[in-house]
């Protein structure tokens, strides 16, 4: 951290907040999350740095927006301080005005830039008809297909891309106990090559016909569990 005396409006201190968004709060959109944090910062009384424009607001930058329905143990928000406050104090104050399902895990000085993020890990649990070791094998085979062409929504419309190079690793197993398919995948999280875990679901639906019946019988959950640098191993800090 900068020496307390040096931190000011003109020279703000960057701070990174790592938080979780789990449980029912997976249904809150990124936009709503942004609006929420603007109020959370006020409630916490943290000396957040405000933009100096016509309509001043606390400067906030989020890494990797999460899609609705996905839970996460590793969300990142960067803010700046206009006055000194210890990381422990910031964490404590934030958690006082948050809830268990949206709470701060860690607060620290950023070591890397958001642009250094290369990959994210997702744990996916699928409850589906015909879940079995054989189905797990079919899923493995599916994601070994080269190329694996999928349609992706982009700003310029639908585009067909090969998602195979965007999957760094994938483990698939069948849990007899839960009668579920479980996938742990490390996917590209680089801005222009971001691979949404939902895309894996779509690929399985299209090719294997899973998750095609009633939501009570068949459904899935996605959990983002780690964010890595470009080597796909070192945890982003």
């Amino acid at each position: 951290m900068l020496p307390a005396k040096m931190i000011s409006d003109a020279n703000p201190q960057p701070i990174r907040i790592k938080f979780r968004k789990v449980g029912m709060l997976r249904y809150i959109s990124h936009l709503d999350l942004q609006r929420t944090f603007a109020k959370v910062l006020v409630r916490s009384g943290i000396p957040a740095w405000y933009t100096q424009g016509f309509n001043p607001h606390a400067k906030m930058v989020f890494a990797l927006p999460l899609s609705i329905g996905t839970q996460s143990e590793c969300e990142y928000l960067d803010i700046r301080l206009r006055e000194h406050m210890t990381c422990n104090e910031i964490k404590y104050r934030l958690n006082c005005v948050l809830t268990d399902e949206l709470s701060v895990i860690d607060v620290y000085e950023p070591e890397q830039k958001f642009a250094d993020i290369g990959y994210a890990r997702y744990d996916i649990e699928i409850i589906t008809d015909g879940a079995s070791e054989e189905l797990a094998e079919k899923v493995r085979k599916l994601f070994e297909t080269r190329p694996l062409m999928m349609f992706k929504h982009t700003k310029s419309g639908e585009k067909e891309i090969d998602i195979a190079p965007l999957i760094k690793s994938m483990e698939v197993f069948y849990s007899a106990e839960k009668d579920s398919l479980n996938i742990s995948a490390v996917l590209s999280a680089v801005a222009e090559n971001y691979l949404s875990p939902e895309m894996l679901i779509t690929a399985m639906k299209d090719s294997l016909g899973i998750l095609s019946t009633d939501i009570m019988r068949e459904h899935y959950t996605i959990f983002r569990t780690a964010v890595y640098l470009s080597d796909g191993e070192t945890e982003f800090k």
């Binding site: 109020k39 006020v42 607001h57 939501i215 459904h219």
Partner: protein, 621 residues
């Protein structure tokens, strides 16, 4: 009921629009141990989450009830149609937001009745909770259902479905009511009928419809309301909080994640209204005026800001510029809000008190549009409705706006007001054109920009406890003819004309002055799947008229009939403080085109001062 509903509810949320409406988990919600409390209260808002979360009354009563250690108050809202479909398909009952427990497990279910068109949602929510619709069909092990809010001043159309109503301000009444429930449960003296009788007898402002027999005359009007016990009040007097400075006001808010209608701090400045517009029910039933002091308001605002993080404070009251200390209040607030980038907004402005000083202080400055409500197009008709604003006031107000660079003005009017003629409708168009002319005459108007004046016209609905409660509503055909005629009068291309649907206003008028017999129609409506009738896309006029006829009733009897002064009204069972004599005087004055001064200028002896109240302008008894 299947115990696994919770898992099914989770699954449903994967497939509905806006799951954020149902997921709960908001910061500021109150969680308690259900085994450690003695009464569980489910506060229901019979419309969407976004609207319900914006209601100030619920924010207050949620806090008041949860302040009691032995009571746990939770919230519930009407599920949107896609959610409802899923709940029915997968056998998931209506649950409370905090605990996720089914409403049927609660001790007391409270509904706030904010507008008549939500009645079908109330019934639908009772149905989705798995409870019998009619009070008489519910047993001792089922929740007590209590109603409140403005529509409870004539809740007769829904009287069969409620066990009781809390009339007036509920801060004290609901707590006393719930405490009585706890006491009788603990003593072992509880049964629905014993409890309701005791509540009617001992808790002020509690109206138990089943304890009053209604008889009718041959012409369908009411003959009498007869209490079935001697020890319950013949009329139910509304409750009020006497001193608003000392009255509970929440210091925190349940913070919605998704955007709601009023996603800001709502600071209640005062209750009641000094004006007495003759069409306005709120202006009568919330009397007497009781103000808070700026000191208390500032403290409450600061505290709410720190506990919510909202960046906007709305000064909430029926007519905010009538607050006697508006200058002091805004100045005091701005001392800290400016520094914190918090803006002030005012929901309602009267043209006669709209000044540059006030406009400079409020956030609406940012938007390019300002809204005023002249309500009628000619001075004659504005005198009839006692609006007490003049064309000059409007012109002065719009010039303040134009001076500040505004280009858009929105004007609210009503059509179908008593004594209305074509001249009054032409007056609406003329007034709008005058505002356009005023823009061009104003030397400071924004150069190179043309003005836009929007006139928005609502259809008049005669309401109980107003000077117009005896008046017939124009028929739908007449209202449509008038709206069309007004359309032909609007020739200026700078004037935009929009209006409400007369069909909805017609049904609203039937329910507003309805009696208990309409319960049958609502029951049929519920069976036929009516819901969200306040939403145009779900409202079906033909089906409404059909269910009223199926119940053997004549819609015109309720909406289009002129009533006599000696007719007994369904709402005469309620004493709102203002006397019928006053309303009759006001009605006669209206027809004579005579205005009545505001309460601050001169007391017109409406009667509400018998209820007491600090910092009101009423002569105290």
């Amino acid at each position: 009921m299947n115990e696994n509903y919770r898992e099914r509810l989770d699954n449903i949320l994967r497939a509905v629009q806006k799951p954020g409406r149902y997921c709960g988990g908001e910061y500021g919600q109150v969680l308690k141990d259900k085994n450690a409390v003695k009464a569980r209260f489910a506060f229901c808002f019979p419309d969407t989450y976004e609207i319900g979360m914006s209601n100030l009354g619920i924010r207050i009563l949620y806090g008041v009830l949860n302040r009691e250690d032995d009571i746990w108050c939770e919230r519930a809202y009407a599920p949107w149609t896609d959610m409802e479909e899923m709940m029915i398909k997968y056998d998931v009952p209506l649950t409370a937001q905090e605990s996720g427990d089914p409403l049927a497990e609660f001790d007391i279910i409270g509904f706030t009745l904010q507008y008549e068109m939500c009645y079908t949602n109330v019934l639908n929510m009772i149905k989705l909770a798995g409870l019998p619709l009619r009070s008489e069909d519910r047993t001792d092990d089922m929740p007590i259902i209590i109603g409140g809010g403005p529509c409870s001043y004539n809740a007769e159309p829904v009287a069969d479905f409620f066990d009781c109503f809390s009339i007036g301000e509920g801060e004290d009444a609901l707590v006393e009511f719930t405490k009585l429930y706890i006491k009788m449960k603990e003593e072992g003296t509880y049964s629905r009928s014993a409890f309701l009788h005791e509540a009617a007898k001992t808790v002020g402002g509690i109206y138990v419809p089943s304890l009053y027999d209604v008889t009718y005359n041959e012409d369908g009007t009411i003959k009498a309301y007869t209490p079935i016990y001697d020890d319950i009040p013949k009329r139910i007097t509304k409750r009020i909080m006497k001193d608003m400075d000392k009255s509970y006001f929440p210091d925190k808010v349940v913070m919605p994640y998704i955007e709601t209608v009023q996603d800001r701090i709502m600071l209640e400045v005062y209750r009641g209204c000094i004006r007495g517009c003759r069409f306005c029910q709120a202006g009568i039933i919330y009397r007497p005026v009781r103000e808070k002091t700026p000191e208390v308001l500032c403290k409450q605002a600061k505290c709410l800001y720190e506990n919510t993080g909202y960046d906007e404070i709305s000064l909430s009251s029926l007519s905010i510029s009538d607050y006697t200390q508006i200058e002091e209040l805004t100045t005091k607030l701005l001392q800290w809000t400016d520094k914190k980038n918090v803006s002030l907004s005012l929901p309602s402005l009267r043209v006669d008190s709209f000044t540059k000083e006030l406009m400079d202080k409020i956030a609406t400055v940012r938007s390019s549009s300002l809204t005023f409500a002249p309500e009628a197009g000619t001075q004659r008709l504005r005198d009839v409705i006692n609006k007490n604003v003049f064309e000059d006031d409007l012109m002065r107000a719009v010039n303040v706006a134009f001076d500040a660079g505004k280009t858009q003005v929105k004007l609210y009017f009503m059509n179908g007001l008593p004594t209305e003629t074509n001249e009054d409708l032409e007056g609406i168009a003329k007034l709008a054109t005058s505002v356009v002319d005023e823009y061009y005459h104003n030397p400071n108007h924004k150069k190179g920009k043309s003005p836009q004046v929007t006139i928005s016209v609502a259809c008049f609905v005669p309401k109980p406890f107003t000077a117009f409660q005896w008046e017939p509503q124009d028929t739908v055909d007449t209202l449509n003819e008038k709206l069309d005629y007004l359309g032909t009068c609007v020739t200026d291309r700078k004037v935009r004309y929009t209006h409400h649907e007369p069909h909805t206003s017609h049904i609203e008028a039937i329910l507003a002055r309805g009696d208990r017999r309409l319960g049958k129609a609502l029951e049929i409506a519920c069976e036929e799947g009516f819901h969200f009738d306040a939403w145009d896309e779900h409202f079906n006029y033909e089906k409404w008229i059909s269910v009223i006829k199926k119940a053997g009733l004549d819609p015109a009897f309720y909406s289009n009939r002129r009533r006599e002064y000696d007719e007994i009204f369904p709402w005469d069972i309620i004493d709102c403080g203002v006397s019928k004599e006053f309303l009759i005087r006001e009605h006669k004055n209206a027809l004579a085109g005579k205005t009545t001064p505001s309460c601050r200028e001169k007391c017109s002896a409406c009667g509400a001062n018998k209820l007491g109240g600090e910092r009101s302008c009423c002569p105290q008894k």
